[in-house]
Amino acid sequence: MSMVAVSELQEMYEHMVAARHYEERLQEEYLEGKQPAFDISAGPIPGELHLAAGHEASGAGVCQHLRDDDTVTAPHRPHHVAIAKGVDLERMTAEIFGRETGLSKGKGGHMHLFDPDVNFACSGIIAEGCPPAVGAGLAAKKRNTDSVAVAFLGEGAIDQGAFLESLNLASVQNLPVVFVIEDNDWAISMPKDRVTDVENGAQRAEGFDLPGTRVDSDDAVAVYDAAGEAIGRARDRNGPSLLEVQVHRRMGHFMGDAEGYRSDEDQEAAAQRDSIDRLAGTLRAHDVGGEALEELRERARNRVEGAIEWAKDQPEPDPESAYEDVFSTPPSGVTETAPSAADSGGEDR
């Protein structure tokens, strides 16, 4: 039996509800102006959008163990993790709407959210966040702190060199890193068995001498427990772990994906196995009543609505700002120190 405190379950529940509501609201906003004919350039949200409805248990269960000084890297489907990690929701939303006050001043968009205050980053290339997470773990080790790094990736990413090499590097250097595979059964249109022979992605760990665990119960508490063990191990300087979590994709790969390749039954089954409902049940079993739950939901929804409202009010970036931030501001790298005649060192050979 899990030792999780009820207060933690409540926090997780609130994060999960916020994440789900966030995705539902973004879907609405995103599709505005894009119907009936879907034109990606219409509506208030630019670009592609990968929503994580159905993944909430993973973000919440893992991040519940993390502090601000712990690093998280997430892939192209990042919102639920960002919310659980405590990323500034208003500025994140402004970023997604492409506004000047967004986390990245509108330069990054939803696949490139960076919040250094809580050491969160995400990126759009498969498994690309794994090596930087290893690097954050390396920095923690070198600085002799007990902070840890967590890299999230999809089950479709476990065939990519960047992930596999990272397992080895983290293992041989004994770094405080946890890799979390979110298995939602699909990599865009490719089912898992088409791209790997391994049913349990955590099995990859075996070839690299680190522990691997899989949680497939759609149970945020089980995720919390397994993640607690892995993160605790990392914090105690006992090395890296690999964790796979079964989640579900409720909204297509990206907005506009008609999922023609996916059976109705599969979609239906994914919708049924809802870890938010399940966690609500657990909370009720812990004597958290319907009213208390509704209060949590209400708070989560309000936070989301507030962030979206704020974001939509923000100004668009000045076109000229496109030329800024290629390099650090203020500009670095132009220091000149003695000897003053330095610059002509090779002059007359």
Partner: protein, 344 residues
């Protein structure tokens, strides 16, 4: 255009995607050695419709979804090509080249040379390129210059359905590795509406367009605009409005970057004396640089003024006003044309 003169007598108009797929399907029918590998290219039909319909005709054995392991499957295409097959491997976005580049440039592109011609690598590497839909720095690049700089690969960039089909036939039949870069905005995808130009009449018969032959997409006497891909259409649009001002622009569509048709470029510049190079890749050390340098080298005397219009040296930003700022548009081209006219 009188139909029948320039398009093999057809009035069947196709999107660039349909034209490209038609060539692939034809070659797959002709030879069992041709097959297609990539992510989401089977049931999905390619994220940018590059394989739409192929699965139905050819099945999963020849229209193969593969793991998200670009190094492994692009390298496998090299191995299969060296074994005599004619694989087509798709890199979903050209921006992902960095995860598989070693196989691309150290094996695919070099093995013919490193073996003294003992082996050849008859494969096609396809990739979607380009921005204009706010997909930000990791999903919007063209990287034309990156591929064209490294020897051993032919680099193809179609701008119309007609060209896309003929160039694809040639790419598959070519005994050498061909990098075939199709611009997402030109494919005619429902959710990413194309401008008017790329949908053209396309003959049902097979035909090839040789590499290394640029195409004059518009004749003109005053200014030479050299460009490729999406920007052929932006340049044509600019030319139309400039024509109203009595400025007669010639538009050279490079069609292939390797080989580069320097002759057509120089002939045009020797006629107009003024050169504008328009590119959606980064400005420095790229396509605009090479086109200008190639003219300066052998035709400096002919050259009265030159301008380049390209992506500035910044990663491609997400928000609409920002992306609009950096990707060259029709106005940028018009301005550059005016500038070379006033420069002298």
């Amino acid at each position: 255009m009188t139909e029948g003169e320039t398009d093999g007598g057809t009035d069947r108009s196709l999107t660039m995607s349909r034209a490209m797929v038609e060539a692939i399907a034809h070659e797959m029918r002709e030879s069992n050695d041709v097959f297609y590998m990539g992510e989401d290219i089977a049931d999905y039909g390619g994220i940018f419709d590059s394989t739409e319909g192929l699965l139905d005709e050819f099945g999963h054995d020849r229209v193969m979804d593969v793991p998200i392991s670009e190094t492994a499957y692009i390298g496998a295409a090299v191995g299969a090509a060296q074994a005599g097959m004619r694989p087509i491997a798709e890199l979903m976005f050209v921006d992902f080249f960095g995860v598989g580049m070693d196989q691309i440039y150290n094996q695919m592109a070099k093995n013919t040379y490193m073996s003294g011609g003992a082996v050849s690598v008859p494969m096609v590497l396809t990739a979607a390129v380009g921005g204009t839909y706010n997909d930000a720095a990791q999903h919007s690049q063209t990287l034309y210059g990156t591929f064209a700089h490294l020897p051993g690969m032919k680099v193809v960039v179609p701008s119309t359905a007609y060209d896309a089909k003929g160039l694809m036939h040639n790419a598959i039949r070519d005994d050498d590795p061909v990098v075939y870069l199709f611009h997402k905005r030109l494919m005619g995808i429902g959710w990413l509406p194309a401008p008017d130009g790329p949908k053209t009449n396309v003959p049902e018969d097979e035909y090839t367009i040789p590499f290394g032959r640029a195409d004059i997409k518009r004749d003109g006497a005053d200014v030479t605009v050299v460009t490729l891909g999406l920007h052929v259409h932006r340049a044509l649009e600019a030319a139309e409005s400039l024509a109203d001002d009595g400025i007669d622009v010639e538009i050279v569509d490079l069609r292939t970057l390797v080989p580069l048709d320097t002759e057509t470029i120089r002939d045009s510049v020797s006629k107009t004396g003024r050169l504008v190079v328009v590119d959606e890749d980064y400005r420095s050390y790229g396509v605009t640089s090479e086109v200008i340098a190639s003219v300066a080298e052998d035709g400096l005397a002919d050259l009265d003024a030159v301008e380049r219009v390209a992506l500035p040296d910044v990663p491609i930003p997400y928000a609409r006003p920002l992306e609009d700022e950096v990707i060259p548009d029709t106005d940028d081209i018009t301005t550059a044309v005016h500038s070379v006219l006033s420069d002298e």
